[in-house]
């Protein structure tokens, strides 16, 4: 069980290391990267992630507990960055390790869907300063 919520860069290799263990034959990882989309005519330079840290950490832990119980995920990773994340960087990594692949896929999917639905994290698009009018709340941006 590994939960992280902070400004530091996320490493997929480290996430994978958290998920290896004897008997865990199926490991699924999802990485969500900030896409350099056009929003209101300007290329997204970064996303700024705002969090309600206390509540978010509690929710993340609850989601991991459910994934463990529901899918038999023996190890999980649920990492999200806070603050500014540049286009091309990884904003979120979730992962699940199970004995078999089917529950691992389903657990990983559950982790990311629940994270998006129920964890107090918000993103705001940071457009290039040149064409920037004002900061605006993000709608489509990262996946």
């Amino acid at each position: 069980m590994s939960v992280r919520l902070g400004p530091r860069a996320l490493s997929l290799a480290r996430a994978y290391a958290e998920l290896t263990g004897p008997g865990l034959g199926g490991i699924v990882l999802f990485a969500g990267r900030v896409r350099p989309d056009r929003v209101a005519g300007a290329r997204v330079r970064a996303l700024d992630y705002e969090v309600d840290r206390t509540v978010a950490l509690e929710r993340l832990r609850a989601i991991e507990t459910t994934a463990r119980r529901r899918f038999g995920a023996e190890r999980t990773v649920l990492w999200h960055r806070s603050g500014s994340v540049a286009a091309g960087e990884v904003a979120v990594i979730v992962g699940a390790a199970c004995a078999h692949r089917d529950p691992a896929f389903r657990a990983a999917r559950y982790l990311i869907e629940e994270l998006k639905r129920s964890v107090p994290i918000w993103k705001e698009v940071l457009a290039p300063p040149a064409r920037r009018r004002r900061r605006r709340p993000a709608r489509p941006a990262a996946r």
Partner: protein, 85 residues
């Protein structure tokens, strides 16, 4: 220090009010969440639309009933729809 509830605004609620938090004076016997929301809507007209789509927390617990009362010293948070990932 006057009896108050600390209200935190996140994301679009913060943009609508122009502030991340305020101290809202409340009577000594407290105030219902519903009345507190009415006061916020009066104070920040742009916040009204946001409130309609938001979830609320009292001391980091989600409110399920707007009749729930907040006491002086409590925290109240306005959570617009989440958008992580």
């Amino acid at each position: 220090m006057a009896a108050s509830v600390r209200v935190r605004f996140y994301a679009t609620a913060r943009l609508a009010t122009g502030t991340a938090q305020v101290e809202l004076p409340v009577p000594g016997q407290g105030i219902s969440a519903r009345d507190l929301l009415s006061e916020l809507a009066r104070e920040y007209p742009k916040l009204r639309r946001v409130l309609g789509a938001s979830r609320f927390l009292r001391n980091d617990r989600y409110l399920t009933d707007l009749a729930e009362r907040l006491a002086p010293g409590d925290q109240f948070a306005v959570h617009p729809p989440y958008g992580g990932g």
